[in-house]
């Protein structure tokens, strides 16, 4: 790899793609923290904030979603590992496993939304507990996260396709891995703060 600095030392000794992804992740982390803060703020200022997540099945359901996302992070690490060792075939297989984990998460999440909207009549603007802000913040937060997961699955699909055809380098897989782990990391905050804090046994 030729340095574009021409004479200067690369201060981080990583490629520009990776640095770019890191900077994106930091800015995205600020977006999600702002949304989580907004959620917490509104929750604290509403004494009758609802607790709509009954432990069985809602919390168990979302725990399975967490498991899917966490495990897909592990398979993504394995994909990066195989790519670093030049094994493209197993890289593609691990990335496909990661995509399955992500898709499982999206499908489970969508069915959870379906349950909330159709059975519990929670929409972004209205619910039966007269705390419309619950729906507003909940759907914004989890919706933005779900969008990230969906984009991640598409991104990984493109990477897997190209890697299978002998294109892209190890760094490209690693950069997509960074994005995927970040999506997992955000869920590690949404799950406890939104779901577990509103659990009802």
């Amino acid at each position: 790899m030729e340095s574009v600095w021409h004479g200067g030392a690369s201060p981080y000794s990583i490629g520009s793609k990776k640095l770019g992804m890191w900077l994106f992740i930091i800015s995205d982390a600020l977006t999600f923290s702002a949304l989580l803060m907004a959620y917490t703020y509104l929750r604290l200022s509403n004494p009758n904030w609802p607790k709509p997540f009954i432990f069985s099945p809602s919390i168990i359901f979302s725990s399975i979603m967490t498991f899917c996302l966490l495990s897909s992070s592990l398979t993504m690490v394995m994909a990066v590992h195989s790519m670093n060792h030049g094994n493209r075939k197993s890289t593609v297989r691990w990335i496909l496993a990661t995509m399955v984990g992500g898709l499982a998460f999206v499908i489970l999440h969508a069915s959870e939304w379906r349950h909330l909207i159709l059975d519990e009549h929670v929409t972004p603007f209205h619910n039966e507990w007269n705390v419309p802000l619950f729906g507003g913040t909940f759907f914004t937060l989890t919706g933005l996260h779900m969008t990230h997961v969906i984009i991640g699955v598409i991104y990984l699909g493109i990477i897997a396709f190209a890697v299978g055809r002998g294109k892209f380098k190890a760094e490209d897989v690693e950069v997509s891995g960074l994005y995927w782990h970040f999506v997992d990391l955000v869920w590690m905050f949404i799950f406890p703060l939104v779901y577990l804090m509103s659990a009802k046994v």
Binding site: S3, I14, L44, D184, F189, P192, L196, V201
Partner: protein, 106 residues
């Protein structure tokens, strides 16, 4: 000095085994969190425990899965102190949320 001969292929990374250990640790901590929710721990203790565990989990993911432990320290120093400071600054609004409770029309 400043030459562009920094092209060390850094395949210094954790082993596959370490990744599996990290994954198990993450799952175990998630399990503890779910258990806390089941036990219906008082809100403040619950929030502290959940946030503490989540920060440990985030640190594990960043250090091992996102490989930051094996990058240069300068990368970490460029990215994270600012992020943490900004997040802490957002907390400045929080006392207001409690005040709003008493300021609403009764």
């Amino acid at each position: 000095m400043s030459e562009h001969t920094e092209q060390v292929e850094h395949i210094t990374s954790a082993t596959t085994k370490a990744f599996v250990y990290v994954w198990v640790a993450l799952l175990a901590m998630t399990g503890v969190e779910v258990l806390l929710a089941y036990e219906q721990v008082p809100t403040l203790i619950m929030l502290t425990a959940l946030l503490g565990l989540s920060i440990i989990k985030a640190a594990l993911i960043i250090a091992y899965f996102m490989h930051l432990k094996f990058e240069r320290l300068s990368l970490f120093l460029t990215l994270f102190p600012m992020l943490v400071l900004c997040i802490i600054l957002m907390l400045v609004f929080m006392p207001d949320s409690m005040r709003a409770l008493y300021m609403r029309v009764q």
